[in-house]
Symmetry: C2
Subunit: 212 residues, 2 copies
C-alpha cells in the first residue's frame, strides 16, 4: 500500500507528520514524500525541511495526502502538481487532505460536488471550486477524506486506519502513540477560543471568510 504525501514550499510540517506517524504504521504501508521538485522542501517556519522524491515517480499511490500551510496559495494554479493530483486521484483508493490542503485538491478539480473541510479560516473558499464546505473535524465523502486545521490530520489518519486495516490495528497504533490528548487550554476552535482572538485572526488572515 503506497501512500504519497505531497510537499511544497512552506507547507506546515505537522499537517504532514501527524498523518505520517499514523499511516506509516499500517501493515504493508510504504509512505513517500513527493514534490514537483525533488529534494529538500522547506516548511513554513523556515526551521525544518523534509526530503521529497519526484511526483512523477509515484504516479499511482493508493492514498494521496495533501497537507496545508501558507505555501498553499502558490499551489492553486493548474500545472504539473494539479495534473499529478488528478491522475493520482483517478486511481487512488483514498484522496485526502489536512488543513488548506483541501483547497489545493479542490482547485485541481477533484472535490467538485463533495463535502469537505479545511482550516477554519479557509473553509468558505472551498465553495469557489465547487466543493461543499462542511464544519467538522474530519469529513468523509466517498473516498475523499478531508481534515480541519493542522492537528486534525491525526484524527483523520486514525479514522482512516480503522477503515483500511480494522479497528484493532488502529487501536494498536493509537496506544503506541499514546494518543489520548489533554489540551491544557480550550482555544482549539473558533467556537471555544476567546472571541477577540478569533476576530483578530480573521482580520489578519488574508482571506477573511465566514465559517458556517
Amino acid at each position: 500500500m503506497q501512500i504519497a504525501v505531497l510537499l511544497y514550499d512552506r507547507f506546515t510540517a505537522l499537517d504532514a507528520i501527524g498523518p505520517y506517524e499514523v499511516l506509516s504504521r499500517l501493515p504493508g504501508a510504504e509512505l513517500v514524500f513527493v514534490a514537483e521538485q525533488p529534494g529538500p522542501v522547506a516548511a513554513d517556519t523556515g526551521m525544518l525541511a523534509l526530503s521529497a522524491g519526484a511526483i512523477g515517480d509515484v504516479p499511482h499511490p493508493d492514498i494521496v495526502l495533501v497537507p496545508g500551510g501558507p505555501g498553499q496559495e502558490a499551489q492553486m494554479d493548474d500545472g504539473p502538481v494539479h495534473e499529478w493530483l488528478r491522475k493520482a486521484d483517478a486511481a487512488s483508493s483514498w484522496t485526502t487532505s489536512v488543513c488548506t490542503g483541501s483547497l489545493i485538491l479542490a482547485a485541481a478539480g477533484v472535490l467538485a460536488g463533495r463535502r469537505a473541510t479545511s482550516h477554519w479560516l479557509a473553509l468558505e473558499r472551498l465553495r469557489e471550486f465547487g466543493a461543499r464546505p462542511t464544519v467538522a473535524r474530519v469529513v468523509i465523502d466517498g473516498k475523499y477524506v478531508t481534515a480541519a486545521g493542522v492537528s486534525a490530520g491525526i484524527d483523520m489518519a486514525l479514522g482512516l486506519s480503522a477503515r483500511i486495516a480494522g479497528t484493532p490495528t488502529a487501536q494498536a497504533i493509537q496506544l503506541m502513540m499514546e494518543y489520548a490528548p489533554q489540551p491544557p487550554l480550550n482555544a482549539g476552535t473558533p467556537f471555544t477560543a476567546p472571541p477577540g482572538l478569533v476576530s483578530r485572526m480573521r482580520m489578519r488572515s488574508r482571506h477573511p471568510q465566514r465559517v458556517e
Copy 2:
C-alpha cells in the same frame, strides 16, 4: 529564545514535530534540530529524515527537548550526547522530553530526584536512573517538563508556551493549529485500550514493566 531539539538515529518523528509546531510559533523563537553527527537523521520508520546541525554548535539553548523512539536504546551510554545534555541543562530555562526521551535525560543524570513521565511501556525504567516515575500526560517538576508517549508532546508544548509567553499567546497558537482533538477511538492509554491489546504490547516490548 533558542530551542534545541535533539535528534538521533531512529527517533520518532511526531515526538519532535508536535512540539516543534507549537514552540517554533513563540515570539522570538529560533528552533534548531541538533545531533551528535550533523546531517540527515533517519526516523524510526525509515521513511523520513530530518536535517540536524551539530550539538557542539548549540551549547546553551534556552529550551532543550529530547524526543523518544526506538533509537533511544542506543543513546543510554555516557558520551558526547550526555555531556552536551548535562552542559545544556546547566544553563537552560527548561529541559524537556517526549516519550522515551526522558530515559535519555535520566541516563544523562539530569532527572535525579525529579518526578517525570515517559511512554507508558517505559515509565518504570526511569527509576533505574533515580527519577520518580509519575503517571501523567505531562509532568512539570521545576524546570523539567516531561511528556508521555509520542502525541503527548503537543500538550506539553502548549502548556509550556502558556508559561513562557502567557495564555493569550498559547491560545493563539492552539487556534491556528486547530488543536481541539477528537480521537475516533478510545485506545490511547493502557487504562482505556482493550486489555488484550495492552497485554500483547507489554509482552512484545523488550522492556515489559509495571505501570504504577
